[in-house]
Structures are given as C-alpha cells and as structure tokens.
Symmetry: C2
C-alpha cells in the first residue's frame, strides 16, 4: 500500500508505505539479501554469483509504479493521492564489507554513469517529477542493511527541501540579473577559501558558511550544470575523483568508517525549465559532532526547524581538510 | 559565542553556539547537575536541598541575552547576526528518576502556569520574536541529562517550522472567509473520530491524518486560543489532565517510558497580530515505530524533506487509544 496524504499545515505530502514495517532489519552477514547468490545458497536479490554494480527495484518500496488510488478519500483540506513512483537500490559492489569510500575511482566513475542513467530513465516517466539519489550509511543513520548500497527515489512531486532550494534560487535569479545562487555561493567559498575541503578541476567540496551539521560537506559542480546528465566526461571523471577524496577524508577524520547521509540535489524532471536555477551538487550530513558524540535532530530541529551547531564551519573545515590530505597522501 | 548565519538556499537562520560542544554529557546519577544540592555535596544548578519546579538559564545556551555582534561579518548573500535570545531549563521535579508522565496532575497544572509565565515574560523582551517550549526525552532523542526537564528557547526570529505553519494558516484564513486552519482540522478529526486518542472538556489529542511519525500526537486547544496565556483556568486544568493522559498512554504503549520530542506551537511574540492564525497546540514526535524499532530521519527526510511512514495513523491511533484507556483505568 503506497499512499500520499497532504499536510495542510506544512503544505507538503507525507508518504505511507505500510508493507515497509516488516522490512529486513540488520540481518547477519551470511543472510544479506544484497550479496550475490551463492551456488546452492539461499536466493538473494541478485541471482548471480558475482556482480560489479547492480540496480533493482526495492522490495519494500516507499513509492510504487502501480500504486492504486487510495481507499481513504481524504477531504478538500487533506487530500490523498496514490503513492506512485519508483524506488531503486543501487549496489556499489558485491563485497559485503566494503564501502563507497573503499571503491576504486574507476568504479565510482562507473557509478556516476549509473546514477546519470537512472536519473534520465526514471525522470522520463510521466508520473515522476523528481529523481532523488541518496545513500544512508551507518547504523547511526538507521540503515537496515550493511551491504554497501545507495538508493534512488523517483518521486511524484518535487520534495520539500529541494523545492525550497529551487524557489530560493529562482527568486535570487530574478532579483540579481539572472545570476545563479549556487554559482555565487561557490564563488564566495572560493574567494574565502577557509571552508574549502577538496578542489578538483571541475568540482569543489566545502563546508558551507551556514552548515547545519558540524561536518556537512557540499560538493558543487563548478559549471552551472542542472543535473548529472548535463555533466560532460571530464566533469564526471572529476566528480568521481573529488567524491572519493571527500569520502576517504571522512573515514580518516576519526579513524573509523564515518556514517552519513549523502543527498544529490539536481533539476526536477517535472518539465519546468530550471536552467540557471538548479545547480547539480551533492550534500553530506554526517551525524557525528565528535568521534564519540552524535548530533541529534531533537526538539529544536524537529519541532521548530531551528538548527543549533556546536562548532563553526571554519574550524571543522580545517580539521576535515587535514583528514582529506592525510588520506590522500 | 552565540552567532547566527543566514542560509540563502533554505532562507533560514542557523545558530552556532561554540561552547556547547563541551556540555555535560550523560553524567552518572550521583553527579546530576539538575538534582538538588545535597548538604556537604557538590553544588548543582539548584542551590537548595529540595524543590518543586525550578527554572534557570541554561549554562550552555544556544542563544544568549548578551551575545555580541559576530566577528565574522558575513556578506550580503550570507549575513550574520548576534545569537541573542534566552535559553531556560525547566525542572519538572527534584526526583531524578521521575518523568513528566509520572507527575501528579496537580504538578502538571503548576507546570502549565510556569510555561505560561515564561512565555509571557520572555516574549515581552524586545529581541524575542518566538518563545519555543519543548522537551527532549530519552537517549534515543539524544538527551544529555536524564533528570526530568524541559527547555525553553526564546528566539530572535520565528523559527522555520512554526513560520511555515503560520503562513499556511494565514493563507488559509484569507482564502476561506476568515476561518482558522487548525479549528477546521480539529473539526475534521472530531467528525471522523478514528484518530482521536484522548478527549477532555477543552482539549483533544489525536494522531493527525497526515502524521509524519507513527505515534505523532497533536494536542489541540478546542477553542482558538493563540497561546498559553490566552487559556483560562478551566482550559489550563483540562490541558494538565489530557496531557497526563497522553503521556501515561505513551508509557503504556510498549510497557516502557517512551522517548519523544514535545513541541509547543503558539503565537509569535514579534508584535504581529496572529489571532485566528496561531492556535495553541502541542506536538509529540516519538521516534519509536515499534517497541524495538526506531524511525530515523535519514536521506529521504534530511536530504529531500520527504517523510515516509510505515503505518497508517488510523492503525496507530487505535493502538495508542487502547494504551491511554489501559493506563487510565
């Protein structure tokens, strides 16, 4: 059952997916459903003895291509809709114990192709308005399966956070002679330099001046490319390179594999023109504020939407930049 | 150091409070800084041998009354401001091991007076635009001190979530002959009835049709009162009564003291008229989706702002209503 309900107080859709309550929860490694199927072993999600990168539809999807019209009719005030969309799982490797940071640059480069391919194909579906590529990593984030994987939600609406960002960029463009908000932010970060964490030929990673998490990193395309599909071969190469640098830096930061949320923000696929408004970038939110301490989204963040951060971005960027250099040398 | 920085992509302030990184973190019970000071013992935050309810300024405040103008000047794109405000701690009891659910109705009634008093006094400060009363409960929410307490943030801006809610209610009012969005939502919940969890004379608790968390409860004033200070004595009595019912129901739900975020939404204190727009209510977000399973705010929620819920509000409301009845009998 995939159903949407409208929240008229926050003016956003909430998605219900009632079969997900019983989804596989931290199985022991030998029963991992994302590993290759071993000869004579139980059948996993991948009916092969090995694989490089694999993509398949999530067995417990938050949105489904054949979602029915909801039985619950709702009202004018609180309408409902079918939770129509596509949820895919992207397996980074068939090695159960590996992580994205540990993949070769070549494999990450292949992943960029996979992400671009899925963005294009899912985005072309008439009921998909936004393709959201992301990864939840680590038990602190609530992952239910350890095998290295990311996810893609092809959504029937532009979700609230990218929507807010796009609206801000659209207003900025209108009030600033057509300039791109993200290009101007990136220029400011380059000029200042204190928060830049890694810099490639085509991509820059930095902790934003207004970071919501101590070690939040934004990885921006230097050129104003709206989406993954707009990146040329050299840009894709550099994305793979700088992405790996950031991830290795994260793991060097405290000397353990750092949990994080990775979220890609790019152009919606709703048919609206978002050139000069959408600017492809990846955002990382690691929950750690120190090796042993997590930042929780509690009353202030959940109830008021007000983020409190214990440390300035200039300080965390310095620490993370050193970790990136250490990991790369 | 209390500093605000403007995020132009989400168009909201982020607060930095750099002394908080070293705040007291889950001390053993005998070193609890919120317990009364024992004769000959170490001095706690309360220099008394016992107390009923106590309120004092947070030693590690996210906002401070004497915050200086930030050294970091920011830019037109990303301005900064002093993190001026007041952060108070509200101790519910001097019994270290108790919880709000375990307090007598009489004490909760006194707490309502305390909350109303603080709302009025803090709200009257010229630099305070919003008084946010909340509680983080349980290690799953990230509490750093177990002693039963809530918090109050007197903020120099209307924070993003209440702001969004107020804007929605204002637009609704303009487009619907001056009707209150929250009154209409409450009427709908009363008429339907399936999601009502507890009903007093003046207050109703329900799981909203569009709940973002499985056991999210909204506790609404039946009358369109903008804030705590607008509640008359009978309403305050009933608030204490229904609040206790909900909290006892929460603890009966899985047979343990349920973690939650409790957040009060009411009229801003920025001088703008919000009658018919602000409608006093309390929202609870418990992280549990089952006894042993937590709902995490991960990629979809943090990176896209899209909430996915595994169970329908009609179902969880039925379970919680039974727990409320069980606890009350």
């Amino acid at each position: 059952m995939n159903q949407l309900r409208w929240d008229p107080t926050l003016r956003e859709w909430v998605a219900y997916a009632t079969h997900r309550q019983d989804r596989t929860f931290l199985p022991p490694a030998e029963y991992c459903p994302l590993c290759p199927t071993k000869p004579g072993g139980f059948p996993t999600e991948v009916p092969r003895e090995s694989y490089e990168i694999a993509v398949f539809e999530n067995k417990f999807p938050s949105f489904s291509p054949d979602a029915a019209e909801p039985e619950e009719p709702g009202s004018t005030l609180t309408p409902t809709a079918a939770g129509r969309g596509v949820c895919e799982v992207v397996l980074y490797s068939d090695e159960h114990g590996s992580t994205l940071a540990g993949m070769s640059q070549r494999r990450i480069r292949n992943l960029v192709e996979v992400w671009a391919d899925r963005y294009e194909e899912l985005g072309s579906l008439d009921y998909v308005d936004y393709v959201f590529v992301f990864e939840n990593k680590g038990e602190a984030i609530g992952v239910t399966l350890h095998h290295p994987h990311g996810q893609i939600y092809a959504l029937p609406f532009v979700p609230p956070r990218p929507k807010k960002e796009l609206e801000a960029a659209r207003d900025y463009r209108e009030n600033n002679d057509g300039r791109c908000l993200h290009c101007d932010l990136l220029a400011q970060e380059h000029e200042d330099g204190r928060r830049v964490v890694a810099k490639g030929e085509q991509f820059t990673a930095f902790i934003p001046f207004f970071a919501h998490y101590p070690f939040e990193v934004h990885l921006y395309a230097r050129r104003c490319a709206p989406s993954l599909t707009d990146l040329d071969a050299a840009e894709r190469d550099d994305l793979a390179r700088v992405l790996k640098q950031v991830l290795m830096g994260y793991d060097a930061l405290f000397g353990f594999s750092l949990p994080y949320v990775m979220a890609m923000h790019q152009a919606p696929t709703d048919g609206a023109d978002s050139s000069g408004v959408a600017h492809f970038h990846i955002e990382f939110y690691p929950p750690n504020r120190a090796a042993e301490k997590l930042k929780y989204l509690a009353g202030s963040e959940q109830g008021a939407g007000a983020y409190i951060v214990d440390v300035l971005p200039e300080k965390t960027a310095e620490t993370l930049r050193e970790a990136v250099e250490r990991a790369g040398s």
